[in-house]
Symmetry: C2
Amino acid sequence: MSEAPSYKERKVITIGVVSELTGLSERQIRYYEERKLVFPERSPKGNRKYSFADVELLIDIANKREEGVQTYEIRQDMIREEKKREKRMRKQLLRGEINARFGIQRER
Amino acid sequence: MSEAPSYKERKVITIGVVSELTGLSERQIRYYEERKLVFPERSPKGNRKYSFADVELLIDIANKREEGVQTYEIRQDMIREEKKREKRMRKQLLRGEINARFGIQRER
DNA sequence: CGTGTAAGGAATTCTGACACG
DNA sequence: CGTGTAAGGAATTCTGACACG
């Protein structure tokens, strides 16, 4: 195991295609990056590359914006969600460590 | 159910990115299309768009070419494979139809 | 046959800025 | 704040062709 396939996360889509896929203008997409809502990668010469996950995120953002939610609030919500996720991850990790020591017995 | 997600099949990757992903030159990628080995979609203005499935196919093609297999033979193999697939599909479909009538009972 | 390359043009993307509100 | 637009330049992509082998 090394190269995770993960088509959803690979950053390979150019901004023009993302624009078609989301219905957002390129201006809007770049602005949401400026507001730290999306983080495309860059090709060697500086062109933005997005993943399918980014496309879905942008669609969520577009929906929030239509409801009148400001980019700042959207960002705060994202940060909160991220912290919850991390909390869960830490718990999971802890459980894993406990199992490794006292749980499942493996050959030695 | 309507919009199948299917990240693997969505044609959204430009030829430059495909070139990076596969290690093939754009010239080679276009030539394999000419030889009917890959079938990218086109954007409104005519730019080629590939899927992750296409990228994997191109990598397979690249490997075959390295072994000295000609594009014509590769195409013949692909056609043979396709026919096998269709055969299996017809069988599956047939089974499904039988089940629909005499197998699993559903409410009516 | 398979691939490189130079050619010319059209479309894409980038950045920084002015505009409106 | 969020988005449109004109501006100028650089990079991308396209097609048809000549080249070599």
